[in-house]
Symmetry: C2
Subunit: 440 residues, 2 copies
């Protein structure tokens, strides 16, 4: 069989794009060997913002253009790789490629999470796949695992640590006792967090990935506005110390779980997870997703969740899959919605135990007031504490923490509103989920 | 597009076969939805040893036959699933199916490790794939990860805990202080070990899986006789105690690593691994494989390594892949060797640090004699110990352990032969590798 030359068009040629180029340069022959010589891959055109920026030593200057349409429409471009980020121009690029029946490889989680409904419809209408392994958890092939390897499973739950920046910050708060601001600063200095770290620390980067995982597992495009998201901005060392003492690790956890009525719980928030669970060993900028299928049982996928080369590794894996399908004219092999009647479980109906920290002014009766509200609303308390400085037992406290029994989150929220309305309350209470992770 | 009905022939219908049937019954509609209605899967014929044995409540009796040829040749059978184990009849079944251009799904690691060279040649000659996710690590999709997701990577190392029985025994020796025989008995009572546990505890079950992983990563069929394998039969609690004190966990580890000259280190043996490495958290019958690619960086795949449903999950994933290829007439999508000049690194050229336990008769001078031999051969000692009973300081010891600096294994073996020849030596020294696991 003659080798077919597959041309790649790149929209965006930043860190990950450079990684894709370098990976194809370094391992192109190996990839071709593994494909039994059926095809070879090469980048034919790349759209960039600044055409004069030096990116790659041996890249010909005619490779680059500032016009993405030139890339998508280029006659030698068979597959389009979208790596510019954002949800506007990126949408136009992906849509244009699909309409030309050019398969798309993207690392853009925000695009697919926010506008997946439109794009997957185009993918179906034009029988052209979108591959997005690079969009979730960098070099960890969890998309392929959920979509292909576990195709025979009903996915029961997925629990993921899927934002490396948050995980790094929480780990440094845990092991080095840093406060949030100091740990964030450190992450920025090390290049783990952007100058504007908002999407990382407010939970939305993780939530976008969780939306994609849920989309794959349950077959419908999840409306982002129905997804509950809290970040790590209000986590304090007192919370972490308390968790550690109780045998938990604090992680920004994304939880996806199907309920008996078929609706799907999807939430991202700071959580207490048992130190005995393998997810608690996921440290630094590493990511992990625990997947539980009805046949597979529990599995964990762990690795580098971001970075030039790991993300390029996933994009190249997708390119090879797209090329295989292209060469064999083998039809659609990406995700298509198959259960458009899927529903998100309202967050108020989700249930866990909770750790709640109340920020209060110390005066006699504070504990009793909060405890009374909890008691009147029938929310059980399994523990309570306010930090005491042993040298100054009479010093005012300003934090009260309660461990609360499992109840619907909606009920908890109603009750916490009453607590917040108390005179002594100085801020909205901070809620952590205490997660029961699936174990065999 | 009309739904195409894909017929499955089962060779073997034991635990895993029953799991495949049940998974298709339970999730068949879901699988068909996920395949966008392109195909449906059903089992048309199954070869079993005893046709009268009751297996499945609602299986029609005409499903079963004792003649595997009836299964393979059946006109409605498009894909053959081989789950009988062994390397003789299983070989005939797989070979016959390939010659009929019927794709094969198998969970038989021994067959592919021992006779892969012949079978992959048939697979190539008849352009018909063999899928074997179920052969390695049960429900963990590590085959697909290495073969497809990491297709753009040079795989640098893989380190696997891929025999659940051994891992369970070592964990019980570690956490409950059981001796080897007691822990083995417990594993048998719990159904984790066979009545004849030989292949599990002698390391060959893990070694077969390691051969398949190396085959995928490096593209050549690895001759089993060139692979170094030691089991856990001689591990004693003294070894585990020593390891624990030093900050290690004892695991039966399979290590695969490519060297600068292109030859591949493949070995399975009891190893000390740092307690700080995530592999040390893999307990009980769970399996895990750490994979390090030049682009992906380090990743870990963790889950149930055996059992009816996890293994069925992998077989069904492979069935769907085979069906997709079949329906689209999309050509070969399994492993084919692409680097038949690949070479196994002779075990004597592999290098690690070591923990060695000498079984000796206590008499003055024993330590000096061993230490002198090590010194004369230029093997550095980083620690030594013989256990002392605090109540009986004069009691004879019979174990001497040494921690030895990194050196070629061949050199160590020569030296250990001299030690074994000493009058005081009562058995072949027991060697554990002290592994430096790839970390970023």
């Amino acid at each position: 069989m003659a080798t077919q030359h597959i041309g790649i068009g790149m929209a965006g040629f930043g860190t990950v794009g450079t990684g894709v180029w370098e990976t194809l340069e370094r391992n192109g022959q190996l990839i071709s060997n593994r494909a039994k010589g059926a095809f070879s891959l090469s980048i034919k055109k790349a759209a960039v913002r600044d055409i004069n920026k030096k990116r790659i030593e041996n890249a010909p200057s005619e490779l680059f253009t500032t016009d993405w349409q030139e890339v998508v429409n280029h006659p030698e471009v068979d597959i389009v790789v979208e790596l510019i980020g954002g949800t506007d121009t990126a949408f136009d690029i992906v849509a244009a490629a699909l309409k030309l029946k050019k398969p798309v490889v993207t690392g853009n989680k925000a695009l697919l999470a926010e506008r997946g409904k439109e794009l997957f419809a185009l993918s179906r209408d034009y029988d052209t796949p979108i591959h997005f392994e690079a969009a979730v958890a960098g070099g960890i092939p969890v998309i392929k695992a959920v979509q292909d390897s576990y195709v025979g499973n009903r996915i029961e739950t997925m629990s993921g640590i899927i934002n490396g920046t948050s995980n790094y910050i929480l780990e440094r708060m845990t092991t080095a006792g840093l406060d949030y601001q100091t740990a964030l600063k450190e992450a920025q200095d090390l290049g783990y967090a952007e100058a504007d770290p908002a999407l990382d620390v407010n939970g939305w980067d993780a939530a976008h990935k969780a939306i994609l995982l849920a989309t794959l597992a349950y077959g419908f495009t999840v409306p982002p506005e129905e997804v509950y998201v809290r970040g790590i901005e209000r986590v304090r060392t007192i919370d972490i110390d308390f968790a550690t003492k109780l045998g938990y690790a604090v992680k920004l956890l994304s939880v996806i779980r199907v309920h008996a009525n078929g609706s799907v719980e999807i939430r991202t928030q700071p959580s207490f997870i048992p130190q005995s669970h393998i997810l608690s060993s996921v440290n630094g900028v590493f990511n992990a997703v625990a997947v539980r299928g009805d046949a597979s049982g529990e599995a964990l996928f762990y690795g580098r969740g971001a970075g030039k080369e790991p993300t390029a590794s996933s994009a190249v894996g997708d390119l090879v899959e797209a090329a295989y399908t292209f060469v064999h004219a083998a039809g659609h092999r990406g995700f298509l919605p198959y259960a458009e009647n899927g529903k998100v479980l309202p967050i108020d109906q989700t249930e866990t135990a909770y750790y709640v920290r109340f920020e209060v002014e110390d005066r006699p009766g504070v504990i009793a007031e909060i405890a009374n509200i909890l008691a009147n609303d029938g929310i059980g308390i399994s523990g309570t504490q306010s930090p005491v400085d042993p040298e100054h037992p009479d010093k005012d406290f300003c934090d009260m923490v309660f461990l609360l029994h499992t109840c619907p989150f909606g009920k908890l929220r109603e009750t916490l509103k009453k607590c917040e309305a108390l005179d002594c309350s100085t801020a909205e209470p901070v809620v952590f989920r205490i997660e029961k992770l699936a174990t065999d």
